[in-house]
Amino acid sequence: MSTDPQIWIAALGTLAVYSYLYKENPAYRIAEYTLVALYTSYSLVLDFHEYLIPYGRQYAIEEGQWYFWITGAIGLLMYFRYAPAEWNWLARYPISILVGWGLGYTLVRSPRPVMVQVKDSMRPLNTVNNVLFFVFFLCIMFYFFFTVGKESKFIQGTGRVGRYIMMVGFGCAFGNTVQGRISLFLNRLSFLLVDWIGMKIW
């Protein structure tokens, strides 16, 4: 048995989380509230020490980038969300800036990686596997036609086949994930058996 308090806390926490599988209970609840609180504080501390202070010092002060003061001030408007109702709307300013910033990114950047996929879908139809790939691919494309070919028996029929092929893909991903998920548990199990109980297994 380990004598390290850190390992004991970790082990009891591990067991508390697993107790959820039997029933939601006080032990799980304590673990849950603890983790939520810790993570919130953790990211606050990280944001503070890794972004706010270094960014402010390096860019706003040393490099003298004036607009850091403006964006910083706009950032503070977020807190108007807690102000009385007539001032709430000020919190929308930083949000819409971030929406716009993400929008520009999506509009320009998102087509590029997809084109790589499109390119790879144009495989030469010279092997059985490539032809099958191509047929499967088209069937799934037909499934997602929302407006075109609603009356066409061909598109509807191939669309249904497309859905079946998607199920093949999903079943495949599901089956293949099982071993990864089991490994996660085995990792915790080795922690409990080896680090905590102190068994010599390997």
């Binding site: 989380v17 983790l35 939520v36 993400g102 084109m115 030469p124």
Partner: protein, 279 residues
């Protein structure tokens, strides 16, 4: 988001040269731009046509869309709340924009039926918008007092802190309907199984291809990939937004044709189409 960003890395290799003088020399820089412009024009034209009352094609039924009302109705009958969440996306992400359509829809249904709606979050800005949307829905339903801001919950900004909290909330509050909408990572199955353990009707809509298998297995209805966005458009108050789904479909037909032609050309050793789309 990180994973999506990384898909783009391939386009970020060193590029000293430019295309056409002003465009960066990365794959698909120019083609992607023309594609974007074409899509914007198409969406605009289709929506204008719809507004002007000109005929535009109708959308086929999207499986799962009608289940929202059924699920909220069931929660009302049972006197149990409804839970809705998207995972990690911040306000600058398209999955969040689509999620908000569903949130508004669910919040309106809940406000009309007088059912409690619980929303869980990881991002404080997304939470701020979510709260506004739900509040507004209650206001429009004429019962602003029924809105409880404490039901829009913040569950820490990290994946498994959030997952743990949501699993706990689902087990304690026993929602009769569980909506998992947006982009998810590994937590998808935990959330869906937590819902299944309390017997909730579960509807998932996601663009996370790696998590869709689990939603399909664990949820009653799953909207797959693009259905998630198309569904968001059909939920709009203004039905002309349908126009954007039509535009999206035209884009798909175009891609299908490009790929068919490209594959045939490629079979005969001609890679012109590939060079075009990668330009």
């Amino acid at each position: 988001m990180a994973m999506k960003t990384l898909m783009l890395l391939a386009a970020e290799a060193e590029a000293p040269l430019t295309k056409w003088g002003i465009f960066p020399n990365v794959d698909s820089a120019v083609f992607g731009m023309f594609f974007g412009i074409a899509m914007i024009i198409l969406v605009y034209v289709m929506i204008q046509r719809a507004r002007a009352g000109l005929p535009i094609p109708e959308i086929r039924r999207i499986p799962g869309m009608e289940a929202f009302e059924e699920a909220v109705g069931r929660a009302t009958e049972m006197g149990r709340p409804v839970h809705i969440t998207n995972y990690a996306e911040d306000v600058g992400d398209y999955d969040t924009w689509a999620f908000w359509s569903y949130l508004a829809h669910v919040a309106k249904l809940c406000a009309t039926y007088d059912t409690r709606v619980i929303n869980t979050n990881t991002d404080y800005l997304t939470q701020a918008v979510n709260e506004e949307i739900i509040k507004q829905a209650y206001l429009e339903a004429g019962r602003p007092d029924a809105f409880n801001p404490d039901d829009v919950r913040y569950c820490s900004p990290w994946q498994f802190g959030y997952t743990m909290a949501v699993a706990g909330i689902i087990a304690r509050e026993k929602p009769a309907a569980n909506f998992l909408i947006g982009y998810f990572y590994a937590e998808s199955l935990i959330l869906a199984e937590a819902g299944a353990l309390v017997g909730a009707i579960q509807i998932a809509a996601s663009s996370a291809t790696s998590q869709l298998p689990f939603f399909i297995a664990a949820c009653d209805y799953t909207m797959i990939g693009e259905e998630f966005y198309a569904g968001a458009a059909t939920l709009s108050k203004e039905p002309v937004i349908y126009g954007s789904v039509v535009a999206q479909d035209i884009g798909r037909v175009a891609f299908t044709i490009i790929i068919i032609i490209g594959a045939i050309m490629n079979t005969f050793g001609n890679d012109a189409m590939i060079r075009l789309i990668m330009f």
